[in-house]
Amino acid sequence: MPKKMTEKVKEIEEVKMEEVLDGTVVYNVPLPSDLKDLDKLAPIIIKFPYHTDYIHSYGQDSPFFAGLTNKRLLGTECPKCKYRYATPKGHCMYCGTKTKWFELPQVGKIHTWTTCYFGSEEFLPECPFNLILVEFEGVDTLFLSRLIGAVEKDIKIGMKVKAKFKRLSKFKPTDVYFVPA
């Protein structure tokens, strides 16, 4: 909670205990003796779990992830119009030509950034974390990554950052992250 929270905002935010989904298992509910009263029955709400392991292929973008495990950042370049993509694109968005791989520099500048204090459920345990879009010299598009080693007040657009790689790859785009250069 921030220090300066007004009374009204406290009211709007309704401070309350977090709801969790580990409720009690119930195997029966009573019915009223008169069926006319069923319209007044409160809704029955059950837990409905869903989990899937997808077989996700990176397809034509796979070399990018192979690059990360070898501590190299790979982008793609259009051989025809020379447009350079920091986040790989298999075909050029402008002329439709199949692109070629090239190695990106491992230093860049922050194009924009944020610090997330909340997040999607999967990332809540990691909050707060910084997201940045990195721009590289001579490259036309940007690259989304995490910035480690800096807090909100230190981060500025234009700040120099350098890539670092996880030693134990997870074959995720987070195998690379950036730190202040």
Partner: protein, 430 residues
């Protein structure tokens, strides 16, 4: 683009009040609430309407929220519209706007004389942060989602760049939140009705993703909305069946635009100009980058050309736009050409966009205060615009505080992703 062959009208609409959760009913009766309201307002019972209606279009964003595929057909059968034709449309946050335009196409093309557009979302079936996870799956799951997929984070990065390019301030963003919550106070359909927020309230609300606080961001909702569209022939059929003349609203402009899913892929080129803008206005601006929405500009430009609008802020009486974030309302002012790029922040605090101002924006309270049950949102905007242009806000809201006096022409704007699909529709009083 050519003008359509047939004029299309919106003849009626209904909204099921947007709220945090509707555990009392499932999604089908929720849509029926809006559908029955629209029919009742038209003065026609379902059985009679069924004889005249040619088909429908269904709008909902996510199959994940309910873990139910083909929800659309379950609404179609519940409403008693089987075996008439129908299909579902989906395009993220713009799903409702796309649905409205698909229904328009069905009528404009001559394929149908009367078409129902219905939409809903039931976001309460998962907890808030799980819901954010589902929404974040509407970003590239190979390159964006795994980095920390979170839409508030994406919008925060966009507005940080907007602040850098144009000097937009968090106080200007707070003004949008204050305005929209205040408007919603008079809208009984709205989820959050707070008449007296201050800049300090907005800024001291918990930070979600710098610089966006909770009061800069719309909430998740359950809700539904329905619009009935018709051709001249369709209007005649309905008037004959109801033995009364009602006030239809003309749809005079349709526009749509797109942009790359990944923000990182957006170009840094030249501004797409609308009338009365010159290349010299934007000598140093790289466009759209991540600070502006090329899809919104494209959609607006297309709709303006079809309607013949030269100076939007002077020629539109009100706008209902997709303010999922206070920042995106400011960005959208610019995309829609209410002001030049870079002038959205000052416009937010100018009073021009307030009810009673030159061109009120989100007189209903917008997404920030009404809520955002995704598939219903774009249709809700159409219903509120319809009532504004009919001059029937008093009848539907129980008070006339938000009725724009002598409203002749309004614009609705529906927006997906980080600006991936955007629709703009212009509606006019007959």
């Amino acid at each position: 683009m050519q003008k359509p062959q047939r004029q299309v009208y919106m003849v009626s609409g209904g909204v099921s009040k947007f709220t945090k959760a509707r555990p009392d009913i499932t999604f089908q009766p929720m849509v029926k609430e809006a559908y029955d309201y629209a029919l009742q307002d038209l003065g026609i019972p379902h059985k009679k309407f069924y004889e005249l209606v040619d088909g429908s279009v269904a709008s909902y964003f996510s199959d994940h929220f309910q873990r139910q595929l083909m929800s659309g057909i379950m609404v179609q059968d519940y409403l008693g519209l089987c075996p008439k034709p129908s299909h579902r449309v989906e395009g993220g946050g713009a799903t409702g706007g796309l649905c409205f335009q698909e229904a328009w196409k069905s009528v404009a093309s001559g394929h149908m004389d009367i078409c129902v557009a219905y939409g809903f979302e039931t976001m309460s079936h998962v907890q808030t942060w799980k819901g954010n996870e589902f929404i974040a799956l509407a970003s590239d799951v190979s390159f964006d989602y795994p980095v920390g997929g979170f839409y508030s984070g994406y919008y925060a990065m966009m507005v940080v760049r907007h602040m850098y390019e144009f000097g937009t301030t968090v106080e200007q963003m707070a003004k949008v939140s204050i305005k929209n919550h205040k408007n919603a106070f008079w809208n009984p359909y709205a989820q959050k009705r707070i008449p007296d927020l201050t800049v300090e309230d907005v800024r001291s609300s918990p930070m979600v993703a710098y610089p966006l606080t909770r009061l800069d961001i719309c909430v998740m909702s359950d809700g539904a909305a329905v619009c009935i569209l018709a051709s001249d022939e369709g209007v005649k059929k309905l008037q004959k069946a109801t033995r009364q003349s009602f006030k239809p609203v003309k749809i005079t402009g349709i526009g749509r635009g797109t942009d790359a899913m990944r923000m990182s892929d957006r170009p840094h080129g030249e501004v797409i100009l609308i009338p009365r803008e010159r290349p010299s206005d934007y000598k140093k601006l790289k466009y759209p980058g991540v600070h502006s929405f090329r899809a919104g500009r494209t959609a607006g430009k297309m709709a303006y050309e079809m309607t013949g609008i030269q100076e939007p802020i002077e020629e539109l009486d009100f706008i209902e736009l997709h303010d999922a974030y206070t920042s995106s309302e400011i960005q959208t002012y610019e995309d829609l050409g209410l002001c030049k790029y870079g002038e959205g922040g000052p416009l937010a605090e100018s009073g021009k966009v307030e009810v009673g101002g030159q061109c009120p924006v989100n007189p209903s309270g917008g997404l920030i205060a009404c809520g955002h049950p995704v598939g219903a949102t774009g249709l809700m905007q159409a219903v509120f615009a319809h009532w504004q242009l009919q001059g029937t806000i008093y009848k539907h809201f129980g008070n006339g505080k938000l009725q724009i006096k002598n409203a002749k022409r309004g614009l609705i704007h529906s927006h997906a992703g980080t600006g991936t699909y955007v629709t703009v529709t212009i509606m006019e009083r007959v």
